[in-house]
Amino acid sequence: MSDIAATDPLPKPKRDLAPILLPVALALLMIPLIGSTSSWLTLTVASLAMGMMIFIMASGLTLVFGLMDVLNFGHGAFIAVGAYVATLVLAPFAASIQADSLWMNLAVLAPAALLSMAVSGALGLVVERVLILPVYGQHLKQILMTTGGLIVAEQTLYALWGPQIIPMPLPTSLRGSFILGDVAIAKYRVLAMLIGLAIFIAIQLVLNRSKVGLLIRAGVENREMVEALGYRIRRLFLGVFMTGSALAGLGGVMWALYREQVHASMSDDLTVLIFIVVIIGGLGSIGGCFIGAILVAMVANYGGFLVPKLALVSNILLMVAILMWRPRGLYAVTSR
């Protein structure tokens, strides 16, 4: 035990770089296995783009898990609702989407994305107040309530839009690829990477440079003590829940454009991936979520290319491996 007037400075906390190096090492390891540099680069860019979209959808969920210990199995509803709401803007302005002008495309895409975020965020407000508020601290009831909410949301989308798959074509200016030598990099994937990276940086800035961010980080670690300091963490949680829902809505729009289609159960497969990302990242850790999303996407893409038969279980195997290495995820910020 050092005494109070200790003159020796504490050793600086070691930066935990191993999780950051993991996707880099995985990508490098794949070069000889894949053989072709152009295929490797294409798969890597596809992984990063997919990883960013999964990160956008998962970032809210990890904070909700970490901050309030709420198991929201209905998170996928915000993804589907976001995608459907975007069709309300994109369908009437199909001509602008098909115009060969980036600015005209963005003039429609941006309002569509913002409306999706607004509606998903508002839906988040309703879900938190109606479904989650009565079952705080009761995991089994949370699972039942949020799963029930997801089913109701999906069936409502079927009732309003019908059971058919709705096409959502990419805007003309985002079609095609950038050609670098013999490597083709899809334009939309580059955009997805940039948006994902911008959102990651924005979340990190909020978490590290603002008092609200400090409260969220502190609340993830010990919400009881945050309350004992006089902060109403339920309000904070509501804000985080709505923001997470809005981001899931944005992710839904981006995913629908990526797949160029929308359907009510589009989030079913994604939800599994998102939960894997949240778990392997460490509950409540945005950095862990970011790396976890990239890892999951890499394993899906590289695994699908190299061993297609393992594609279905590859992410489960990844989760098992990560949890054997770090049982509380890549970056453990809660004691759970």
């Binding site: 035990m1 109070i4 007037a5 400075p9 980080r217 502190a218 309350e227 004992a228 006089g230 902060y231």
Partner: protein
């Protein structure tokens, strides 16, 4: 001397366990009241119930003339109650500065108050930008106390601040709490360290099985070895 805090017939249930079984106590304004007792007597539960972290199932808790037993924890804190839990509960992912910024709820950090705190705990200045998780146990306890006094509070609830700390750090903490007391703070202090209790306490309450079994002046208990042995199962002399 008026009572800043008063508990009347307070019961607390945690699950099916009946922990507090009708607590009656008063904490006079501007004094340090020690809450002593064996492990499991209900001392921590009493502090947590006052703080609203566990809801009282029955009884009244009155702070400065206002009933607070049904208020939420943040509302109790906003009425001027500072809490230093037994676990210290510093936010280990945040720096020392960030921990104190959060504790200064009503505005930016006050430089004069910070200097006063640094006077007791120079280590906090030294490790201002270090993550709280990298501090030693004693330094975490200093941070935990600093967080509770970074803004003026009516009442401080402090739970075993000397637990597990080296003697030098215990002495420093005692000096700090004495200084806080000299500034007129009202403190309800749970303590197992009888030496610290004697140094700090004006009044004493002894708990056993969820009830108050003794109340009086700390000096009287410190001078009465048979009473100490009867109430606490130990004597101050044996503890020094």
């Amino acid at each position: 001397m008026t009572d800043l805090l008063k508990l009347s017939g307070v019961h607390t249930h945690i699950g099916r366990y009946h922990i507090l079984q009708g607590i009656d106590l008063a904490v006079p304004q501007g004094q340090v009241t020690m809450l002593l007792g064996r492990n499991g007597a209900g001392k921590t539960t009493t502090l947590r119930t006052i703080m609203g972290l566990w809801q009282a199932s029955k009884g009244q808790i009155i702070l400065a003339g206002e009933r607070i037993e049904s208020l939420a924890t943040p509302d109790i804190a906003r009425r001027g109650v500072g809490y230093v839990p037994e676990s210290m509960a510093v936010f280990s992912d945040l720096t020392v500065k960030e921990n104190l910024v959060l504790a200064a709820r009503d505005g930016p950090l006050d430089d004069a108050q910070l200097d006063w705190i640094f006077g007791f705990f120079p280590a906090l200045r030294r490790f201002w930008l270090s993550r709280a998780g990298s501090l030693s146990g004693g330094q975490k306890q200093m941070l935990s106390i600093a967080r509770a006094i970074i803004e003026p509070r009516k009442l401080l609830l402090v739970d075993e601040p000397t637990k597990g700390l080296a003697p030098a750090i215990v002495m420093a903490l005692i000096e700090c709490l004495k200084e806080i007391k000299r500034k007129g703070a009202t403190i309800l202090l749970v303590e197992q360290n009888f030496f610290a209790a004697r140094e700090l306490g004006d009044n004493v309450l002894v708990m056993d099985n969820g009830t108050i079994v003794h109340r009086g002046e700390m000096a009287a208990l410190a001078a009465d070895v048979p009473l100490q042995e009867r109430m606490l199962g130990l004597s101050l002399e044996a503890h020094q």
